[in-house]
Subunit: 541 residues, 2 copies
Amino acid sequence: MTNIYEQDLDRNPANHIPLSPLPLIERSASVFPNRPSVIHGSRRYTWFETWSRARKLGSALSSRGLGKGDTVAVMLPNIPEMFECHFGIPMTGAVINALNTRLDATTIAFILNHGEANVLITDREFSPTISVALSELDREITVIDVDDPEYIGDGKRLGNQTYEELLAEGEPFYEGRDPDDEWDAISLNYTSGTTGNPKGVVYSHRGAYLGAVGNPLTWSMPQNPTYLWTLPMFHCNGWTFPWVLAALTGTSVCLRNVTAANIFGAIAEEGVTHFCGAPVVLGLVINAEEAERRAFDHSVEIMTAAAPPPPAVLERIESMGFRVTHVYGLTETYGPSTICAWHPEWDALEPVARAKVKSRQGVRYPIAEGLMVADPNTLEPVPQDGDTMGEVFFRGNLVMKGYLKNPTATEEAFRGGWFHSGDLGVWHPDGYIELRDRSKDIIISGGENISTIEVEGVIFGHPKVLEAAVVARPDEKWGETPCAFVTLKPGESATADEIIQYCRDNLAHFKIPRTVVFTDLPKTSTGKIQKFKLRDQAAAL
Amino acid sequence: MTNIYEQDLDRNPANHIPLSPLPLIERSASVFPNRPSVIHGSRRYTWFETWSRARKLGSALSSRGLGKGDTVAVMLPNIPEMFECHFGIPMTGAVINALNTRLDATTIAFILNHGEANVLITDREFSPTISVALSELDREITVIDVDDPEYIGDGKRLGNQTYEELLAEGEPFYEGRDPDDEWDAISLNYTSGTTGNPKGVVYSHRGAYLGAVGNPLTWSMPQNPTYLWTLPMFHCNGWTFPWVLAALTGTSVCLRNVTAANIFGAIAEEGVTHFCGAPVVLGLVINAEEAERRAFDHSVEIMTAAAPPPPAVLERIESMGFRVTHVYGLTETYGPSTICAWHPEWDALEPVARAKVKSRQGVRYPIAEGLMVADPNTLEPVPQDGDTMGEVFFRGNLVMKGYLKNPTATEEAFRGGWFHSGDLGVWHPDGYIELRDRSKDIIISGGENISTIEVEGVIFGHPKVLEAAVVARPDEKWGETPCAFVTLKPGESATADEIIQYCRDNLAHFKIPRTVVFTDLPKTSTGKIQKFKLRDQAAAL
């Protein structure tokens, strides 16, 4: 039986519109037409111009028959064209597939085939890789070249038309189309995957919109910020920030090359207030030489994911005028979906303790409805004791639609009504989670779980160590034992015993590496350590 | 034909949860359990306590059979119980119907009958009105008394149980229920309506959620603000701010009596950072006597709707450490849905010009998808010339579900796929709207439209005038002419000619009132001037 609230109160065009980031750019361009949208070297656009360019792009693509269900791939650095593509492509109904510019040709060819891209918009800088990828492709694709006047390096045009020529075909007042349904796909992002073929994570207009309004809410980001692009826009669509900036009418400052001098220059000259970046970017800032530094008199907010910097680094960067917020997420969760939400009383902790609480991955975003650490099989939450390890699970509106053309992987990822992150962690008594490992990386020795992240953290503390990775080595007696691969700082030398002794002073006995190998660490194009290669090496020792 | 993005990528419990403010309070209580949620005199609650009390309320109501499709009415001032009801009632699936505490008994009886409330939670202060309303009621209703220890005035208990006794029946770990669908109703708010029966505006969980995340986005409101309740929570659910505060883990400071001393006290002692209020509240602040004022060293953000203060007032309040943001909306749009979004270059304008741009109702919220000024019949947008009058129309996710049990009014309000606000205004060349009148108040004289707001604005400028209202008076020659009803300041005297002469210096000839009546103005319980009564008087002159 229907109740009184279910009679004559239906959705209609006046009171229900599919959630999408597209109306956000229309609003920024209408309300603040002359405000700077994107700055890239000597190129400076206003919001009206960016919107017009995005509409021309959408119009031109649409005239070529692109629309709902089609894929447009882009191989672009953080430049104005990349920003425009985040609006101009979805505006036609098509899906933007931003490629990781560090990938090899074979992987790119795989992605272009799998994602069924009809068009590829590519920057001249990447022509060596792309030309090989195109030769490996088993389908027709239209190639559009971006020839950025700010780029003076090598590389050639590969297609018959440039991006500017394409735009010239388009109408600046093209209206585009809103999604028929907010669940419609807006983007496709392939996971880098340390093993196997990459999987295509599909985002919806709804999720992109919620990221656009939810990231500022969570990060206390005000209207009209100035945002520096150090995080690649190809990475989870820049954690949804092209759409965030449209919601806030913010200014994007682009950097083709992320260097300390460029970061300080953008802060000092453009008044950058916010940026997102990997810890490596924080390292750049801290280790900047005197000549690269610039004075600035405002506070700069940094959102960083993955392992946050150690205490000394954190203290140093905060004393320099930066404030660091630690977040965590996966491609499958639109980028960050947890935050180490800060309690004011933690300011009073001494640096090491403060860095320790900040190193935790934290709690769910207000707009992410579910987060738990649970048994991977039963999905029973683990006790909040800071000790029992479990898998991290997400559920809610910041979780992907699924993996493209991969129902098996999708079903597996969503088994039990939760997204299985594959990350292992503990749940602290205050409800904050802390990652301990990827589930496939965990070491089980004598029935005890050993977090490779924990062991690596200790080894990192050794003054001579630059990098370290710990993996399982098969062992007849214990099943597995920890095996450490260590890169020393330039000019340093050390023995395995020295490292092991150091661990003995800082770790439970069963967690101490039995084997230490001094070597360079194999990495993916995105800088992730390829532990599967190290596991093979360890097994062969 | 389905495309690749429509295969095996469906909504499921892991990636799609109905949007609702309910998970927001769970998050605040889990992440910041000990942070202050609500402060009311000597009563101070933490987020964990507020959540527990809301859950006990939900549990107790649920045990009494309340649930989806049921209505729970509340007649409460801005006190902790009112805040709790905004979560505890929807948690059961029921709808919260917050009553305007200034209404008369007959109107309240009408609302309780029409909204089919099963339970009424009422504060002892309102027992004189409520006891009469109950006697006029044609249905059974359970009455729960709130007996606020901070209230020492008159009034008696009317029901068999107090709110605290009800809570004692409930389970603090009651889980409640999420809405089955985000379109499910969350609240019912009756318009005050200057004529006819009030209409019941129905809000959805989706809209309430979007207001909760959209208001902070629009107002640059950071996490953990301290918010002062001067705006009644019964007014469009406090413009969705109970839910906003759950999204931000903010602290609510309650005031039973909104006085200058209480406002300054809350700012100085509790560190209030934000409040929303009618212009009358700004007046309280500006006109505070020396003894009522308190020093404070932070900036306080004020969001105000309706007519913003005149230049001198605005200048004065901003020099006192307040920053005023002007917004506009209706009950049907979840409260504010447009904002006079500020351009930094406007800071350089001289005070009168600055106040003039700030007095405009502005542009759509980023989360409100459509706003236009258009012909009321054809829905054709008027030119953006700052002169052509039209009706203000809204569309998008900040528009109500419709009017309860009133399909005719709902259809009329949504005719053509836009919400008809009934407000008349102009559209400026920069896209900002400015209200000119309610459509039923406009005067048409010799075929020319006359904005009564414009004429009133001029009369207000006369130094002897306290209040003024202008209505149409029937006229054989012109059709209608403006007739002004004026209340002078205490101790002042003036002639009609004096007022007319003043208008002659400041208005186009055809807009000058032909008639001036000195009198007190009839008002509704919410302080709105009852122009229909003045029109009757003018016609009878």
